[in-house]
């Protein structure tokens, strides 16, 4: 339960930062995707269920405020979180390279899905333009932010694990 509350507040903070502070810090009008970073990292750090939970909340926040219908972003984020959960088995906390690759691939897939459903279906067919001016800059910016914030997420994750272990051992 404690974990759920902490994670929920992390999502809220990331969402608020992405909508306000990072809009002011945007480089060339591009903002990093903090919510994908969070969804993906909790997916492979904790497993598929956690991925679903974090993805659903993140997507739902975007849906409620910025989407014209509910459930679309929630579904995309949820599936990405779930897919990342499959890599829980090969996740080692010491390794930083692999998580960065996962997060990058997740963000890329997220961008492609948004492009296909929200742009390609409205006959915006210049894929390489969008790749060059939206998807690629967002990937780079997200990776840079990930390098900075990933350790913080990992630290919170470890603290949560420790406190969970402690409370579990009390009842034995």
């Amino acid at each position: 339960m404690k974990r759920k509350i902490v994670v929920f507040f992390m999502i809220l903070i990331c969402f608020l930062l992405q909508c306000t502070v990072f809009q002011a810090l945007s480089l060339g009008g591009i903002v990093p995707n903090l919510l994908i970073m969070l969804t993906s990292s909790f997916g492979f750090m904790k497993g598929r269920k956690e991925g679903i939970f974090v993805g659903f909340i993140s997507g739902m926040l975007i849906d409620v405020f910025y989407s014209s219908f509910y459930g679309g972003y929630a579904l995309i984020y949820m599936v990405i979180g779930y897919a990342n959960g499959y890599f829980h088995r090969i996740f080692y906390p010491e390794d930083v390279k692999l998580p960065i690759i996962f997060i990058t691939v997740s963000d890329f897939i997220y961008c492609i899905i948004t492009y296909v459903f929200l742009f390609l279906l409205r006959t915006r067919i210049h894929f390489f333009f969008y790749l060059k001016s939206v998807i690629f800059p967002e990937l780079v910016y997200t990776v840079v932010i990930t390098v900075i914030f990933y350790r913080l997420i990992l630290l919170i994750h470890r603290k949560l694990e420790e406190s969970e272990k402690r409370s579990a051992s009390k009842f034995v």
């Binding site: 502070v21 591009i30 975007i62 219908f69 509910y70 459930g71 948004t114 929200l118 742009f119 967002e138």
Partner: protein, 287 residues
């Protein structure tokens, strides 16, 4: 008699079933929100009260920082600009006196024809921009006024004297605004001088260069030229007539030789919006 405790294994649902159930929930919500607004109301009210105060606070701090850095940058530009403008003032003051004469004539003529004023005075309410779309694909922003301040969906939003966009979603203390440069935005407009109608379409490809695309301009006698003012048209069902969008930046004849298209330079600076005006009058009043 001691009670025997039967240790039951806790039932754990496999994650793929959770995903399936949640997916069905999402799809269900999509269908529901497409057709009705049952889910929209309670969720948006709750989230509005939880998140909007935070967004207001953070964006105020952020705004302060960007303003300071902008001020420094602007100071240099302003000094150079000042000289150029001084020269222009002289030029314009001569022109102005000519125009004043025309104006007197115009007022007389208007009285003669008993015309109303060109623009009706619309009732407006000021609002602050407190958040932006978290992605990089659309240009939608959040303002700090909602239905409790009398804001409704489809109200027009202006900044200064130019059109910014339209209200798409309303909560009790927040509303989202889709800008005219947004990729999904279409505005029916007209050329002020000739009343030729055209459609102004936002385009992500042009957003960086700061212009908006327009199309379907029928102009058989080639009277529309670069620099003409574009205003919202009187046939639009959502936009009030006569709000300035911008000036024609580039104009080309389409390959069908019937219509023209090109780009418009908007008069609103969409990168530095912090206060906007919401026009509290709808084009189509509810019955």
């Amino acid at each position: 008699m001691p009670r025997v405790k039967i240790k039951r294994r806790k039932f754990v649902m496999p994650s793929k079933y959770i995903l399936l159930i949640m997916s069905i929930l999402c799809v269900g919500m999509m269908i529901l929100t497409f057709t009705t607004d049952i889910v929209v109301k309670p969720l948006s009210i709750v989230s509005g009260y939880v998140l909007v105060p935070f967004q207001e606070g953070i964006s105020e701090v952020g705004m302060w920082f960007t303003k300071r850095s902008d001020e420094l940058k602007q100071l240099r530009d302003v000094m150079a600009e000042n000289e150029a403008l001084q020269a222009k003032i002289d030029e314009l003051s001569i022109e102005n006196s000519n125009l004043l004469q025309d104006k007197y004539e115009l007022t007389k003529l208007r009285e003669l024809y008993e015309l109303d004023e060109k623009y009706e005075e619309y009732e407006k309410v000021g609002a602050r921009v407190i958040g932006k779309d978290p992605g990089n694909w659309f240009s939608v922003f959040l303002i700090d006024k909602g239905s409790s301040d009398g804001i409704e969906v489809n109200m027009n939003v202006m900044a200064g004297s130019g059109l910014v966009g339209i209200v798409t979603q309303v909560g009790t203390n927040w509303a989202t605004v889709r800008t005219v440069i947004d990729d999904a935005s279409n505005v029916s407009a007209m050329v002020l001088s000739t009343s030729d109608r055209l459609v102004v379409t936002g385009d992500l490809q042009l957003m960086e260069s700061g212009v908006i695309r327009f199309a379907q301009l029928k102009d058989e006698d080639d009277s529309v030229v670069k620099g003409d003012q574009i205003v919202t048209s009187n046939i639009s069902d959502k936009f009030l007539p006569g709000i300035t969008i911008g000036y024609i930046n580039e104009i080309n004849t389409d390959s069908n030789n019937l219509t023209k298209s090109g780009t418009i330079a908007p008069i609103v600076d969409f990168d530095h919006l912090d206060v906007v005006l919401v026009v509290k009058q709808l084009k189509q009043q509810k019955e």
